[in-house]
Amino acid sequence: MSGAKTLLPSGDATRCVGAGQCVRTAPDVFDQDDGGTVVVLVAEVDESHRALLDEAAYLCPASAIAFTERG
C-alpha cells in the first residue's frame, strides 16, 4: 500500500524484568529467551501491528519495549 509505514520493534533486554507483558500482547513479535528476558522475533512489521506495539510498550513495567517507523 502506498505510503504505508513499516514499524521496527525493539526490546531492551538490559532493562527487561521478565514480566512477559509483551509476549502476552504480541506473541508473534516478542518472546522470552531461556533467561526470561525479551527477544524480538521479527525485524519489522506492518502498520496493522501498531496498536499491539503501542499496547506492549504501555504495559511493559520496565519501559523496555519501543518501536520506530520507516517509510
Partner: protein, 400 residues
C-alpha cells in the same frame, strides 16, 4: 517531609475493607483530595498515599523510588512490619526489598523459572491438582469450607511442586502471611521458616529433586550463587506465592457468587475465563500498601515529592480510578483490562504474575465447571475476613 506539624489531622492508614470485594471506601475520599495525597501512618509519621492510576504508573516506574526498608522514612503500612527490622530475620527482603543493581542480579537468577513457557508446562499439573481436590470436596459435601478444602491446599500443592518443597511441610509456609502480620508471632514464624528452608536446601545438595529450588541449588554447587542468598530466594518465593494466590481465588469465588449475572456469562461461555480473571484481578486487588522512599526530588504536575519522602501505593484504589476505567466499581467480566496495577508496576512488578493468572483461571474454571450450582452456605455478611496487607477470607462455606 516538610510539614510534620499537620500530620495529626491527616487520614490514617491502614484502612479496612467494609465489603470483601471493594477497597476501603475511604480510598475514594483520598483520591478525591488528590491522586497523590498526604496521610498519616499508624505510628504518626506522615507519608504520601497514591491512589491515582496514572500517578502510580509514573511513580512506580521512576528510577528514584527505593525499596530500602532500612531507610528511616521507609513507610510501614501495618504495625507488624516494624518487627521485621529484627536482626533475627536477616534472610528476608530479597527481590522485594532490594534496589538495583542487587535487585537486577537477584531477579535474573530467578527469572528463568518464571517464563511463560515454563508456566505453560505447569498447566496440566495444576489442572490435576484442582481436579483431585474437587474429587475430595464432592465426596465430602454437602457443606464445605473452600478455603480449607480447596484454595489453600491447591495453591500450596502447586507451590510445593514448583519449588520442590515437600507438601507435607506446608505448615511452615501456609498461614505465614497472617503470622507474619501478627507482631507477637512474626519474628518466630520467619525464623522457623528460614531454619526449615536452610535444612531443606542443604539436603537437596546431595539429594536433588526437580523443583525450581533444585535448579538454584545447582547454581550453588557450581559456585554461581551463595547459600545464604538461596535461602533468601526460597523465603521470598514461599511467602509471595501462597496466600496472595489462595486469597484471590477464594475472594473471586465469593465475588462471582454475589454477581450471578456475571457468573452466568462465564458458565455460558467458558472462553471468557482469561478475560474474567484479568477483571477479577483488577476488581479485587487484595495486595496493597506497597512502600517506597523517594531518592530524589520528583516533580509530578504541581506536586513535588521530596528526596527522602515515603510513599504508600494503594493499588486497589488505583484500580478503581474513574480517570482510567469506566464504571470502575462494577465487575464486568466482558471488559478487557490489562493495565490494572494488582501486580504492581515498575521493575518490581510481580515475578510470579503469570503463574498466578494460570492458577486463578484453572482453579475457578475447574470449580464452576464441576459444581455449577455452587452457592454460599451462609450469607456473605457472616463470612469472617482477614484485614491487613493481604486481604483474605478466613473461610468460605459453600454448598450445592
Amino acid at each position: 517531609m516538610n510539614d510534620e506539624n499537620g500530620a495529626g489531622d491527616l487520614p490514617e492508614l491502614p484502612m479496612t475493607r467494609e465489603c470483601p470485594y471493594h477497597p476501603p471506601a475511604a480510598y475514594e475520599d483520598l483520591r478525591a483530595i488528590g491522586p497523590v495525597t498526604r496521610v498519616r501512618q499508624f505510628d504518626g509519621r506522615p507519608v504520601w498515599a497514591v491512589t491515582g492510576h496514572l500517578e502510580t504508573r509514573e511513580l512506580l516506574s521512576s528510577p528514584h523510588m527505593s525499596v530500602d526498608r532500612f531507610h528511616p522514612n521507609f513507610p510501614m503500612p501495618i504495625p507488624a512490619l516494624t518487627q521485621l527490622q529484627s536482626s533475627r530475620t536477616p534472610a528476608i527482603g530479597a527481590l522485594i526489598r532490594t534496589d538495583p543493581p542487587e535487585h537486577t542480579r537477584q531477579r535474573r537468577d530467578i527469572l528463568p523459572s518464571f517464563t511463560l513457557k515454563k508456566i505453560g508446562v505447569l498447566r496440566p499439573r495444576i489442572e490435576q491438582i484442582c481436579a483431585d481436590r474437587l474429587d475430595a470436596i464432592t465426596a465430602k459435601g454437602p457443606v464445605v469450607d473452600l478455603v480449607e478444602e480447596y484454595t489453600k491446599p491447591a495453591v500450596a500443592m502447586v507451590l510445593s511442586q514448583l519449588l520442590g518443597v515437600p507438601f507435607a511441610d506446608r505448615e511452615y509456609f501456609e498461614d505465614l502471611t497472617y503470622r507474619r502480620f501478627d507482631p507477637a508471632q512474626v519474628v518466630d514464624a520467619l525464623a522457623d521458616l528460614t531454619d526449615y528452608l536452610s535444612r531443606l536446601l542443604r539436603a537437596k545438595e546431595t539429594d536433588p529433586g526437580d523443583g525450581l529450588l533444585d535448579d538454584l541449588v545447582g547454581k550453588v554447587l557450581a559456585g554461581e550463587l551463595e547459600r545464604d542468598e538461596l535461602v533468601k530466594y526460597a523465603l521470598v518465593l514461599v511467602i509471595a506465592g501462597q496466600e496472595t494466590t489462595a486469597n484471590t481465588i477464594a475472594l473471586s469465588v465469593l465475588t462471582l457468587l454475589e454477581h450471578p449475572d456475571q457468573l452466568a456469562l462465564l458458565l455460558d461461555d467458558p472462553s471468557l475465563w482469561p478475560n474474567a480473571v484479568e477483571e477479577l484481578l483488577r476488581f479485587l486487588a487484595i495486595t496493597g500498601g506497597l512502600s517506597r522512599v523517594a531518592t530524589a526530588d520528583i516533580q509530578l504536575g504541581d506536586l513535588t515529592i521530596a528526596d527522602g519522602d515515603g510513599l504508600i501505593f494503594l493499588n486497589p484504589g488505583a484500580n478503581r480510578d474513574e480517570a482510567q476505567f469506566e464504571r470502575p466499581n462494577e465487575l464486568d467480566v466482558r471488559r478487557t483490562v490489562r493495565n490494572h496495577l494488582t501486580f504492581g508496576f515498575g521493575i518490581h512488578q510481580c515475578i510470579g504474575q503469570n503463574l498466578a493468572r494460570v492458577e486463578v483461571e484453572i482453579a475457578l474454571r475447574a470449580l464452576f465447571t464441576r459444581i455449577p450450582t455452587l452457592r454460599l452456605a451462609v450469607p456473605m455478611e457472616q463470612i469472617a475476613v482477614r484485614q491487613g496487607l493481604v486481604f483474605g477470607l478466613a473461610e468460605l462455606p459453600v454448598t450445592w
